[in-house]
Amino acid sequence: MTSSGPDLSVQVAGIAMQNPVMSASGTFGYGMEYEEYLDLSELGAIVTKAVTLEPREGNPPPRVRETPAGMLNAIGLQNPGARAFIDEKLPQLREFGVPVIVNISGRSVKEFAQLARMLTVDGVDALELNVSCPNVEDEGMHFGVDCSSTGELARAVVDSTDLPVIVKLSPNVTDIREIAVAAAEAGAHALSLINTLLGMSIDIDTRRPHLGNVTGGLSGPAIRPVAVRMVHEVAREVDLPIIGMGGIMSARDAIEFMLAGASAVAVGTANFVEPATMRDVIRGIADYCRRHDVARVAELTGALRID
């Protein structure tokens, strides 16, 4: 970035990022997997795959399936557990010199709180609460789709850590604003949205679901209009920074989310299609700012014109 170029830096929940572009949880492994394809030190932040208290095996295959302009996944939170994450993944992740946001998932409020305490360590810059994974239904809870449980969870985590807490919202709800408000009132420092839409597809020859888990999460460009709408809705209702995601493939798409109200964006499925997507998005945003005389990228946030 030359000194005359646009200022791409953003602050989200106190996390200083050199640009607003990060990875979406679960689509970028722990970063290392993509090291050969792009320079990770150029990213705004890295968001990890969900980490749970104990190791998880994940769901039986098939776990992914393409759908029109999208994909279904039912990975099922496979991960080595918090201990192994801290010992084996985190040291490598820190080396890239960009903020590390750890996506966490648990079976209960207690487990989330415990995880938050464990992960409040050097090298972790923020926690993202995966309250919306379709699989987190144990203990009779269905976080993320009702306000009281989301609020309770967010508050418990906020109370267990001094790291910024980002609550990741599920799109599978009647009114996402309500949930966003609950998270805000519970003290969350930022919101990220959207997680995947719950979907399903069927092999008509075998008459079986394509996914081993029957249903899965729909991601990719197909869901972008839903994601942009939700970011727009939440941004008008809640005074917290938003990390917008859902089908971002290009700088154009990223800018759409920022205009709708996002302070930063995350790239998910597009990483699979083109491993260098985030680099291209960062450059494309800079180009756009130059072309449109935008001095600071943060000016784009919520700059949608509606008359």
């Binding site: 679960g26 492994g29 039986p60 295959p61 992914v64 393409e66 299609v273």
Partner: protein
């Protein structure tokens, strides 16, 4: 950096719904090992969205030539079947772990089902130039003679070759495993390699385990990223949990796989 641009030099129809792509791709031609795959972007838009994995069938580094065998089964492979010469592909690769090399002079058995022949042709080809080369026997099976694509490329690289079709339209009649059992009884190979449908691999694994023959299998699974990041391509591991086809595989020792859980679907 494991990525490259490839030009389609020629597309050969090698059977109904089967195409052999001759790609100009110096990087892959120079570095691909038998059993590795490339992750190819079929279009530049969202239809299809994800890349598609294909084994490398042969390389010729002197001519920057990479051969890929493609069977049309859906949208992506049908688009490939329509691509004109000169078409440019963006690809990641070579990816994954290829076949372990046999020991010097070993007696080995290759078992191929349908397009599963591709990585085995590459293996057989690579063994031609090694010193004290192994003795290579091969069994190639398919539903009918049309499924035995590129069989001459395969047969010509092996010491012994048996074709088998379910309908008897070429070679013996039956399944590859019907041939494998007597072949093993006749002369027990020291090592076996197999690639084909899951169901075939499961039976081959059982046979080889029973006969105490080390077996290497190349597995398939739906992929997201192809580079180990999404955990989409997991298959059940013998030690519990799952392994990734794209990263730990696509070639595995047969005893790394939990064949019982594999068969659950």
């Amino acid at each position: 950096m494991p990525r490259a641009v490839a030009h389609l030099k020629r597309r050969e129809t090698v059977g109904p719904g089967h195409y052999l792509l001759h790609l100009a791709c110096p990087e892959i031609a120079a570095s691909a090992q038998p059993g590795q795959f490339i992750h190819l972007r079929v279009g530049d838009g969202t239809d299809p969205l994800l890349r598609r994995p294909f084994s490398v069938m042969l390389t010729n580094p002197d001519e920057d030539d990479v051969q890929v065998l493609v069977r049309t089964v859906g949208r992506g492979t049908e688009l490939i079947a329509d691509h004109e010469e000169g078409k440019q592909y963006d690809l990641l690769g070579p990816l994954g772990h290829g076949w372990p090399k046999p020991g010097p002079g070993e007696d080995i058995m290759l078992v191929a089902g349908g397009v599963g022949v591709a990585p085995l042709i590459f293996l057989a080809d690579s063994l031609r130039t090694v010193e004290d080369r192994p003795y290579v026997r091969a069994i190639f099976g398919g539903a009918d003679q049309d499924a035995l694509v590129c069989w001459t490329e395969f047969a010509s690289r092996c010491e012994e070759f048996t074709a088998v079709t379910e309908d008897g339209s070429a070679g013996e009649t039956g399944l590859v495993t019907d041939v494998l059992v007597p072949e093993i009884e006749r002369d027990r190979p020291q090592r076996a390699y197999a690639c084909g449908p899951d169901a075939m691999l499961a039976v081959v694994a059982e046979i080889c385990a029973g006969a105490g023959i080390p077996l290497h299998v190349s597995m398939e699974q739906w992929m997201g990223c192809g580079v180990g990041a999404c955990l989409g391509c997991a298959i059940p591991a013998a030690e519990g949990g799952y392994v990734r086809v794209c990263t730990e595989g696509p070639v595995f020792d047969a005893d790394q796989i939990d064949w019982e859980r594999m068969n659950e679907r």
